[in-house]
Amino acid sequence: MTRLELNPQSAAALNRLLDQALDLAPAEREQWLASLPAEFAALQPRLQDLLSRAACVETSDFLGTLPKF
């Protein structure tokens, strides 16, 4: 499992940046990522990875219901 492994400041920044990105249309997110200030460079790959999953999560109804067992 991929752990988050972020300090509190970076976690807060990731949370804030993710909100900003999700306010944008999917087509605008690539450019937004590319224009992130240098101070967020360490978070950029993680944001890219998260945003790349958005369409799949939505169309597959990821975690939309509990598995049956």
Partner: protein
């Protein structure tokens, strides 16, 4: 109808304020109803629509209210509590199911782990989501509450918003963020 808080209502409030002993007492008083709710959610044959699953939560609440364990006015307090409790119960059920499939005591452990793993995907998903929630709490503890209420308890966005005192839109955003983070955590 009396607005006087019932003992359970008072306990839920104290548990919400972080009193550990109160939480344990609430858990014991509601355990049978919540376990029945968990079983209903886990065993529904068709892929349950959100409407169906949230009805189960309402029914559970009404049974507790009818049994005079909970005041009708305290629906919101119950909804705040039910996600956390359902997570605990469902994780226990998943662990128990895995133990049963893998065998215990005198029962031999299956030699083919492939078969075991292929029939335990549901339990594994539940346990991986449970583990990954610690990471979500680092970003925002409310993300954890939303996953508990939405995924584990099957509540609607509207009920979750009411319980947490925020807008439906906030809950939709939290759920969107939580699912992205969980998709990444569960992918590897």
């Amino acid at each position: 109808m009396s607005a006087q808080p019932t003992p359970l209502t008072d306990l839920i409030r104290r548990a919400h304020d972080g009193e550990t002993g109160a939480l344990q007492s609430v858990f014991e008083l509601t355990y049978d109803e919540l376990r029945r709710l968990a079983r209903s959610r886990l065993q529904t044959v068709q892929r349950a629509a959100v409407l169906d699953t949230t009805m189960l939560v309402h029914e559970c609440y009404l049974r507790l209210a009818t049994a005079k364990k909970l005041a009708v006015e305290d629906r919101v307090h119950f909804f705040r509590y039910v996600g956390r409790a359902m997570r605990s119960i469902i994780v226990d059920i998943a662990r128990g199911a895995l133990r049963a499939k893998r065998g215990s005591g005198d029962k031999p452990v299956p030699l083919s782990t492939t078969i075991c793993e292929s029939t335990s995907a549901g339990e594994a998903e539940v346990l991986r989501v449970h583990d990954a929630l610690d990471d979500l709490a680092q970003l925002d503890p409310r993300l954890v509450q939303v996953v508990e209420m939405r995924y584990f308890a099957g509540m609607t966005e509207a009920d979750i918003a009411t319980a947490l005192g925020v807008t439906d839109r906030t809950i939709r955003r939290d759920w969107e963020k939580a699912r992205l983070l969980l998709a990444r955590a569960l992918a590897s």
